[in-house]
């Protein structure tokens, strides 16, 4: 599914590396958690996978479904089945969730030269997913993410995830700023999407979300490098002892 080899990344106008040689292999149906202290490069990694233009790949390769995607645009990656749930979803004035997702689906259909959904067909799909997520239909009539609470924004990301139906979903700190109820709703949404065909990368600072979405693998990112990998027990260890223990082990 995803193969990242020796990935080194910097921002355009600064020579300091933010990602310093990441290797990661995600197979079909697997859930990987990427954990790490603040400033370790977790969110950068998520954004680089999705193709954010602010970053420059200095070295290394990203293969998605056996294609080298280093140079692909974010929209092309999306068409291939890659999805990023944002840590801070943008508020977009005058653009509604329905309208944006219809444009997304249309663009994908066009890319694969398939027949587009009619407005009616799409509305049916959309309404059923909104209902599944237990979202207030009034929110979907507003400008995207405008006046949404933190929890509503994250739910809206998961709504988009479920409609766009990707093969690889990257969740960038989706748990931050959520209360227990919202976290459970979001996790239920993600768990409902689990399948042998779909993989997840869950980027998080805390172990909490991993109680709800149980990962197959946990990786710890420090200073732009994966320094330790393990199973869900690693996350519990971090929860109990903090990142300090792992960092001090590195030093010794």
């Amino acid at each position: 599914m995803l193969n990242v080899k020796n990935l080194k990344v910097k921002v355009a106008d600064n020579n300091e590396l933010i990602l310093n040689g990441i290797d990661l292999s995600v197979k079909k149906g697997e859930i990987h958690a990427i954990m790490g202290p603040n400033g370790s490069g977790k969110s950068t990694f998520a954004n680089v996978l999705a193709g954010k233009p602010d970053y420059e790949i200095v070295e290394g390769e990203i293969y998605f479904l056996s294609n080298l995607i280093n140079e692909l645009l974010p929209d092309e990656r999306s068409h291939m089945g890659l999805f990023l749930a944002f840590q801070y979803p943008s508020e977009i004035p005058g653009v509604r969730s329905f309208q944006m997702l219809k444009a997304s689906i249309d663009a994908k259909k066009e890319y694969y030269k398939e027949k587009k959904l009619s407005v009616r067909e799409f509305a049916k799909l959309y309404d059923s997913k909104v209902k599944e997520m237990g979202m207030d239909i009034e929110l979907t009539k507003r400008s995207l993410n405008f006046g949404f609470s933190g929890g509503e924004k994250k739910k809206n990301e998961i709504l988009q995830l479920s409609i766009l139906d990707p093969t690889l979903a990257i969740l960038d700190e989706t748990d931050s700023g959520l209360d227990v109820d919202a976290l459970r709703t979001v996790a239920d949404g993600v768990n409902a999407m689990r399948s042998v065909e779909r993989s997840f990368i869950i980027v998080t600072h805390y172990q909490r979300i991993l109680n709800y979405i149980v990962p197959d693998f946990v990786h710890v990112l420090v200073d732009g490098k994966i320094v330790k990998s393990g199973t869900k027990d690693l996350a519990i260890d971090i929860e109990n002892n903090g990142y300090e223990k792992i960092i001090s082990e590195l030093g010794s």
Partner: protein, 434 residues
């Protein structure tokens, strides 16, 4: 000193012996006197009122007279609304044949005032000749002034005012002039639209002046659309006088021509009155659009708000000059001002100057202005959802405009404007920013 050459040029258009009503003839004469003293506005940035306007092109142009004509013009948009009162002013002349006026409103022209004779004292007192050169020019050269009174307070009165440049004469000039009275307790929808049929080679001059006189407790929802695909000079002045507890809510859309100015002012003259001016301007290529938006709080307990948005592409230039004057007695005033701009090309320029001039001490006022490019994070967000950069850019521009479009609260106009934006936005010249 006013240049003789310019005066002589406009002298050819001036008819001193018009058969207008006596009072209106006086306004005309007074306008000409003012114009003789001041001429066209200066082009050397010395006038604060016309600081950014390049009049030099206008100095070198010679404009021809128009005449009353019977033309078969297509107005598919407005012909759909047979149940609306509709005033067509074609090349400065009221087109009686085409216009639709129900017996619920009174319309008379200045040649033959009867029932509206009492309004001739108010005519020229809301848009004042001495205020600025172009209003004086309109008064001097107005071809066919129209007076209207809206009186039915039992239903919503709908009136469309369509200002047309037929494009029949090249370099033509027209000076539409209206005075509209709203009787106490009336509620009205006013649609003002400018339509230019002239082709790109035909540089005409249009200077409409409309005086709105709101009597106590009258409410006006004013929707204005200016679409100028041509290459013309357009200066529009809306002047409003508001009495006690009146409301004037205006939404405007300008897709400007070569040189155009939208100039609206309301004098909040009766307590508890309220006025809002919202608008959207879009400029492209070498277009120049000025928005002179001003409100005077003359008495206490009134509120006003100004909210304009600009989208600039190509080498175009726009100006937002918002003014709120709060006079000494106007306590408990609430006034808000905002101008937001989207700059889509490096060569485009906006000059935005919101200003508050406050002489009262118990007021609540705020103002602000911004100018920015496409937000990179928003763009990435849409792209990550599979929408390509061009389409995402169009969506962001369209979204920015949408807020104002929805304020039109008029299905036909919204549908028309949305279609227009869907056509125009992807074709704006936005090279060089990303």
């Amino acid at each position: 000193m006013v240049s003789d050459i310019i005066l002589n040029r406009f002298k050819n258009l001036y008819e001193p012996n018009s058969k207008f009503d006596k009072k209106i003839k006086e306004i005309k004469f007074d306008g000409w006197k003012n114009f003789n003293n001041h001429g066209l506005p200066p082009s050397d940035h010395t006038s604060e009122l016309w600081k950014y306007t390049n009049f030099s092109k206008l100095y070198n142009s010679e404009f021809s007279k128009t005449s009353k004509k019977d033309l078969e013009l297509e107005f598919t948009l407005f012909d759909k609304r047979k149940d609306w009162n509709t005033i067509y002013i074609v090349d400065g002349f009221y087109d009686e044949k085409k216009s639709i006026i129900s017996n619920e409103i009174v319309l008379e022209n200045a040649l033959n005032l009867k029932n509206l004779k009492y309004l001739s004292n108010q005519f020229g007192s809301i848009a004042i000749n001495s205020e600025n050169e172009m209003i004086a020019l309109n008064s001097s050269l107005m071809q066919d002034p129209i007076l209207v009174s809206i009186r039915n307070s039992n239903k919503i009165n709908n009136l469309q005012i369509i200002i047309v440049n037929s494009g029949e004469n090249s370099q033509s000039s027209s000076f539409p002039r209206l005075f509209v009275e709203f009787s106490p307790n009336t509620k009205s929808n006013i649609v003002e639209m400018y339509v230019n049929f002239a082709d790109n080679t035909n540089k005409n001059l249009t200077v409409p002046v409309i005086e709105y006189f709101l009597r106590e407790k009258s409410e006006v929802s004013h929707k204005r659309i200016q679409i100028d695909q041509g290459n013309s000079y357009y200066f529009q002045f809306d002047r409003i006088l508001q009495n006690e507890e009146s409301r004037f809510k205006s939404t405007s859309f300008s897709f400007s021509g070569l040189l155009s100015r939208y100039d609206i002012h309301s004098d909040l003259h009766g307590i508890n009155s309220d006025c809002s001016f919202h608008g959207l301007y879009i400029t492209d290529k070498n277009q120049h659009q000025e928005n002179e938006i001003s409100t005077t709080h003359s008495v206490e307990r009134c509120s006003s708000d100004q909210m304009f948005k600009g989208i600039l592409a190509g080498k175009s230039r726009a100006i937002f000059s918002g003014k709120v004057l709060v006079k000494k007695n106007a306590q408990k005033t609430r006034a808000f001002q905002k101008d937001l701009n989207f700059l889509l090309s490096k060569a485009a320029e906006v000059d935005t100057k919101p200003s508050l001039e406050i002489y009262a001490d118990d007021v609540e006022c705020s103002h602000g202005a911004t100018a920015g490019n496409i937000d990179k994070n928003m763009l990435f967000y849409l792209q990550s959802r599979g929408i390509n950069k061009d389409q995402a850019t169009s969506m962001l521009i369209r979204g920015f405009a949408q807020e104002i479009i929805e304020e039109f609260q008029d299905e036909l106009l919204i549908e028309y404007l949305e279609k227009l934006l869907d056509e125009k936005i992807p074709n704006l010249d936005i090279e060089g920013i990303m």
